[in-house]
Symmetry: C2
Subunit: 409 residues, 2 copies
Amino acid sequence: MSFRYELLQKRGQARRGRIHTPHGIIETPEFLPVGTQATVKALTPQQLQELGVQGVLANTYHLYLRPGSQLVEKLGGLHKMMNWPRPIMTDSGGFQAFSLGAGREHGVGKIGGVFPGTTAKKPRGAVLSNMVKINEEGVRFRSHHDGSTHLLTPESSIRIQEELGADMILAFDECTSPLADKAYTEVALERTHRWAVRCLEARRDTPQALYGILQGGAYPDLRERTLDFMLKWPWQGFAVGGSLGKTKQEMHQVLDWTVPGLPDDKPRHLLGIGEFSDLFEGVARGIDTFDCVIPTRFARNGHVFVPPGSPGRSPRGTWNVLNARFFDLDEPIQKDCECYCCANFSLAYLRHLHKAEEILAYTLCSMHNIHFLLRLMAEMRRALEEDRFAELRGLYCDDLGAGLGTGAT
Amino acid sequence: MSFRYELLQKRGQARRGRIHTPHGIIETPEFLPVGTQATVKALTPQQLQELGVQGVLANTYHLYLRPGSQLVEKLGGLHKMMNWPRPIMTDSGGFQAFSLGAGREHGVGKIGGVFPGTTAKKPRGAVLSNMVKINEEGVRFRSHHDGSTHLLTPESSIRIQEELGADMILAFDECTSPLADKAYTEVALERTHRWAVRCLEARRDTPQALYGILQGGAYPDLRERTLDFMLKWPWQGFAVGGSLGKTKQEMHQVLDWTVPGLPDDKPRHLLGIGEFSDLFEGVARGIDTFDCVIPTRFARNGHVFVPPGSPGRSPRGTWNVLNARFFDLDEPIQKDCECYCCANFSLAYLRHLHKAEEILAYTLCSMHNIHFLLRLMAEMRRALEEDRFAELRGLYCDDLGAGLGTGAT
């Protein structure tokens, strides 16, 4: 089946649609769990299918370095190697080359602010250390595994992604820091445009859909410029990338400046964003697909999603199962949840498993978090069909106090 | 259903039978995977059931310390807490109190010799450090979690095991080291006999089957003495425990001295033994059930069981999937294996997952190893029915060069 986006309904900017891919359909809006190293951490492909996962995102940077994209190709591509029959998206490798290639987490997220537990190291321009060099040709970086030097270019990124064989691949871009100034962001943007054209020229005749990436930081005129430029080229889809500003409000603005100008007949992906409230805000602004490590990473740290009104729910919509109040609680995370974890296991047992650092803790909590987000996305799709999206958003987000914007619908 | 052993066939000392428990039947001989902390590492109960696991063994020492046996009881017992509907056995906690309670692995296995990667620290008598004190009352030890002091006695071991609620529970005993001399082994044996009687007196009226443990080290007269003593008491089953000698040959002797004297109508368990060849040697000598961490621990280290004739098979019957020769091998571990791992994943992918330290590596290899052993046990059961056990044993073990004994059948 060749790639296409089918628009079913539009409510304000929000869309209910379908992405047709060579490996099946993704009903949108939808969340794609991340399988960085060709595995969604702690889950088998069978479990992912049983959870109803429609597609996953794998990371080009990681797979290029290990096990190597040529090996993946030799093994029949990502789908066959990881035994995943449904759609896969790969990113361009750029973001990780800039961050991990610098030999450390640079401490700055895609939305501004310093990641908890990391230190921002006086970031300059693109927050690069001297281990990462960027020029017109591409990005030279060191492997975070062994320090070996590598060059990633628009051409090599496309070639690697063709070897990996995902259904949706991304143009190679420079993801600037939220702390980058406008002058640097503009230089990077113009280079990203030239790289975008090189990506289109480099691609071969595969059934893969190539998404263009919209950069421009939190600067409205740069976002407008990239939109004008990118619309001239034959992308099969678009991804909103780069710095999304220093606050959630700025991220909403970036989406408001960008997404309404995109064509109705192409899918839009929001890169690396998946906080609870972000999904609602993104969908409201016309995003079709999201990817993020949040549900699985949260799960491995004992943070599980709970519905609105759950006592002690954090601003991120979670409980920490390690909390002492769950010590002897013989109840599931969520009573009306139908996931394998909630159907069979108590919070007291989950707390024990986490305390004991048992792998089953990570598996069960990952199942719940993914199930929770997928059910949420399914509810959003239904709400869009029935024209009550705003109501659903209010229900899930009004008590989070996370400084949500007003949205576009 | 009340507990009983049903003998179906006897071939020499080897037996084909059935253990009826309150949670269903175990077709024997059978291997029970270990779920130390109330979870078989890296697998869900659903996966265990799909693998055909008939029963598991959980460790009393670990569960007493964390999450606590009273909590397990409050949560409805082990079966309900861990969502495992099939039979469970718990050990007495003694072995771990002596070893882990000493604040470190003592470096000596149940069969003599030093574990790879550990150091034997000049073991004395019972290989105890000054953190473990043993006297007539019981064993005083320190938690390996927080250093807190605990006392485990025959009475408390039984009480804890009743709180955990397994189908088969074990008498509290002192497991002496293979390096203990005869004088110490004899003192420990007599104390273990007094403890055994106290266990019988302490037990309440539960549907649990209480197994007596046969100690006596590698000394034939002590093994004979313990057999005479234990046969006088109303056990529902027997476990062969304690030091099983310094070599596999000595272990076989210990079994030959012990098992033939046990009654036909009671099941026999061999504690903590599960090497490939040991299963054959144990079955040949009349053992019905085994437990061991080997299949899951091996799996997490990348060691997977392969059938006889596999090139480069180690003396333990394994391949190491991390081996460079598997780098690009697009073949499963075992072509005719029907487990989820072999049906869907290549050695090259498994090697990648192990290199990347992905949890899925541990899950998939654990599946294969457990499936492999369970299939082996099923083959043994069929071979016993069809009176061709010796042939099967020759097929699986003749190329291992592990110094196997001649067996009793």
